[in-house]
Symmetry: C2
Subunit: 547 residues, 2 copies
């Protein structure tokens, strides 16, 4: 007779063992490590909430204090591995296997740990893919999450950074797992209930607020003329051509420049209300001038951004907010929106090869994928049409027809030479060397060339939709790769032929004057300008204040 309730029994045993360290659901910070010792078993799958921004950092430090003799071989399944404590778990032998999405500041440390065999790598996922596996074969046994406050029944207010929390909690709580939340404060009544107490087993008031990183703040003061030129090229050659209304922007300076040009150059092109009205987007401060100028109908956010909370609370017609007035973000919902409801993804990358494959991996750094592979892929399951989507699909197919699907616009913006004058265009991605070194069966490619529709550099646009074979693609890419070795090795006749076909478009072909491309075009030229645009509602993090 098979026992079909092993997980429920196991859960009850753990909860009983932890009970002495709790007062109902409330666990004192001093007892947190002891409680974790009772709740977590060697070999468990543990999600130690590390989102793109918000970190369950106190619980991470508690977990790092357990004795590896007691708890070892944990399988960490979490989207972000960004704190030193996260790496400590592997260094100390508490954790062994890792499935994740994004590493950011720990990308160097992860590369070293993998190389030294300290981490057994499951896989690097795009966010929504990892979330999917929470419900199939990577269901957490224990989830350690973070919120702003909770009541004594465990009702949780996540605050504006809801991010991954509901997705993690649902997978864990409904599969007989244990959910533990660190909160900044235990209160009598939460401002709103983002997660019902039914799904939370323990709450710990952490000695300090959870860590959250401002990741999406780009100082307009640091936008270069070259980025402004690329933004003008994109606005004239892509926004004005395809008119994508629903879209996502990546987090680089090139897309920040587009945001800052909407109320100026975009207005001149007559695009207000015609493009970029509905967004799946992090709360980019650089979008404030466009919002205030009436460009934006609605924005759904993956997470929040430090300093933007008061502004978003004052703009509930644009942002998703709760009855308490603060932002509601949700990474799963927003990633799904990016995949299925957006006509365009436009973002930056580090390296592009001759087939249009792109990567942010360097030999020493594995930054992970985050959301890019999802946002930047064409959803074959999409069945609703839009003009932008159909136009892209028809360019790719060479014509219209009832069986001709549309295509998502996937635009990569890249300056031909990146940081330290490293060429962005390469014969082989660094990612391939890494794959060989770590014996990976699939190289960590951010976006594969077959999903990329346009590459924008300061030299112009390569429209890969109009390419008809691999040679077209290669010469189209060489044709916008500037003075990089890849660009220099172009076949000039072929590139000129591609230009005649409209595959390559130069600034002059678009009527974009590079002389105009300067900071006078920006709707805001400093963080302070953004504060002014926001009517004082935007409160930039101190590191961005120089006044």
């Amino acid at each position: 007779m098979r026992d079909w309730t092993r997980q429920k029994t196991e859960r009850a045993t753990r909860m009983d063992a932890a009970a002495p360290f709790a007062d109902g659901k409330v666990v004192a910070a001093d007892n947190a490590t002891d409680m974790l010792r009772r709740v977590i078993k060697s070999g468990d799958r543990v999600c130690l909430e590390g989102d793109n921004q918000k970190q369950a950092d106190f619980l991470a430090s508690c977990l790092a204090q357990v004795d590896p003799a007691d708890i070892h071989d944990l399988h960490i399944v979490q989207s972000g591995l960004v704190l030193p404590e996260h790496l400590d778990l592997f260094r100390l032998g508490i954790a062994k296997k890792l499935d994740f999405s994004y590493s950011g500041p720990q990308s160097g440390a992860i590369a070293r740990a993998l190389d030294q065999g300290k981490i057994e790598l499951g896989a690097i996922h795009t966010y929504i893919e990892l979330f999917a596996r929470y419900y199939v074969d990577l269901t957490p046994n224990v989830a350690l999450i973070a919120g702003v406050c909770a009541d004594r029944d465990g009702n949780l207010y996540t605050g504006p950074n809801t991010e991954d929390t509901p997705t993690i909690v649902e997978a864990t709580a409904y599969k007989s797992g244990v959910v533990i939340a660190q909160v900044n404060k235990i209160v009598d009544k939460v401002p709103r209930v983002d997660i019902p107490g039914d799904q939370i087993d323990f709450v710990v008031e952490a000695p300090r607020p959870f860590y959250v990183e401002p990741l999406f703040t780009r100082d307009p003061g640091a936008v270069t003329d070259s980025q402004i030129l690329m933004a003008m090229i994109a606005l004239k050659g892509i926004y004005a051509e395809y008119r994508p209304k629903r879209l996502n922007h990546g987090i680089g300076f090139a897309t920040a420049a587009i945001e800052l040009l909407l109320p100026t150059y975009g207005e001149k092109l007559g695009l207000r209300g015609e493009v970029a009205t509905h967004w799946a987007l992090n709360p980019h401060p650089t979008l404030i001038p466009a919002i205030e100028s009436g460009w934006v109908e609605q924005i759904h956010c993956f997470g929040s951004e430090v300093g933007m909370d008061r502004y978003m609370s004052a703009r509930p017609d644009v942002y998703f907010t709760g009855k308490d007035g603060t932002l509601r973000s949700n990474r799963l919902m927003c990633q799904n929106a990016g995949l299925y409801a957006c006509d365009m993804f436009i973002g930056s990358t580090l390296q592009i090869d001759l087939a249009g494959n792109s990567s942010t991996v360097t030999p020493d750094r594995i930054a992970g994928f985050g959301g890019a592979p999802n946002m930047g892929s064409d959803a074959h399951g999409r069945r609703h049409v839009s003009d932008a989507w159909l136009k892209a699909g028809r360019e790719a197919a060479g014509g219209a027809g009832p069986l001709v699907r549309g295509r998502k616009l996937v635009v990569q913006m890249v300056e031909t030479f990146g940081e330290g004058m490293k060429p962005a265009f390469v014969e082989e991605l660094d990612s391939l060397a890494l794959a060989r070194k770590l014996n990976m069966e699939l190289a960590p490619v951010m976006i594969f060339g077959d999903d990329v529709t346009h590459i924008v550099t300061e030299e112009g646009i390569a429209n890969l939709l109009l390419c008809r074979n691999a040679d077209d693609v290669e010469q189209a890419i060489r044709g916008v790769a500037g003075y990089t070795p890849v660009g220099m090795a172009r076949d000039r006749a072929k590139v000129e032929a591609l230009r005649q076909r409209g595959v390559i478009r130069r600034p002059e072909d678009l009527g974009v004057d590079p002389m105009e491309a300067n900071r006078n075009l920006l709707a805001a030229r400093s963080i302070r300008d953004l504060v002014t645009w926001s009517d004082g509602l935007y409160s930039p993090p101190s590191k961005f204040r120089n006044w």
Copy 2:
């Protein structure tokens, strides 16, 4: 000075107007129509929860009672349009525009209403695509949802049929919309909180329990020898070859036959533990014998199934359940699991053309897509590998390599002649005629040929991964199309060459003996057998009981 809080003000006005018809959050059934009159305005986007199974049928009938002079031009945004009341809204002039996913029993009525101009069609979506748009450009102003019970604070227990509810509520509640729930019972304390009361504005105790349809119950007694043969072919030629561990099955009899063969023929092939261990699946009663025989590790469900609740509650190691013991389903999570975490989708269709495009549309019926376009599409954003996925991708690419992505196995099972001896293989899908008639820019195709990897008929398997051009695909399809006109028009020499290349595999090539393909192979031959396998825990709906 622009008003940025128009939606919050509008919401407050509506809530105030509705307040006289409520006692706190509780609205008496007799007051429901009056309350809706105050809450809903002409032109609103309304989600009248119609899921694949669960229906907010009482609220639908209340809404159908409002005066079209007061409320008209509603834009209905809901996944299922399956009740006569849903159509009434359009017939009466209360609703005008429609964005939906699935129509099931109303597929004929929808086709007629579209033809007569009674419905302005937004689009037919796959589920997760419509959910995505809830967060971008189809956010509901009002959501009318259904749950099992609620307390007076609005805390909602959805019961096993959670389905779309959390996704609808989140989009509406956090964008200043109004959420109204019909429940079977208002109680002092709900068994578990699936949706916090904070997100629910009004609850109505309906005069009868919400309607729910058993959609996934297939009587083993109705499985034919031909379906058993196809199931054997699939098990030997696909399951045993690719070893997909994570998968989804469609709802047809052919996949039900596979489920019923796992403990018999599958066991003989030595596949237990090697395939089909983790599922994104509705609670198919026909999977009970495989579960009881130890084949299945874990199942996440889109929704529930009438009669399966007690069985699932007793098998929490397999199914996702709450602390109260009942199933937790979630369509968005499960669709995401099917898209990103599954190695295989296998299901049936009605028509397949010479490029492998498939459709369930007939000239008179628009059944919608449901989840198939999503489950049956290759996620280009996937970055984790599995053996099954890599093998499929390498077959398509003609080799391995660090830049060779895998492919999801997308298998279409179809008998060469369907109901009424209608050929399943056609030169042109009926869907195209419909697109012409309704001036649709994209024909309603369920799964496009470029995502299909295998077609299984009683004549054998066509492996489209190994096809190298459109002619290969056409002849591979003709080569398994039997005695249909499409099959008869095959080029015999080319088909034989494809067989030599392993593109086409006949039962004899696989060592499958059609003489063995009979009902003796089924692990359960009747609904009653399923009850026995379940140890009496499965309680089939009365229409499936003949004892």
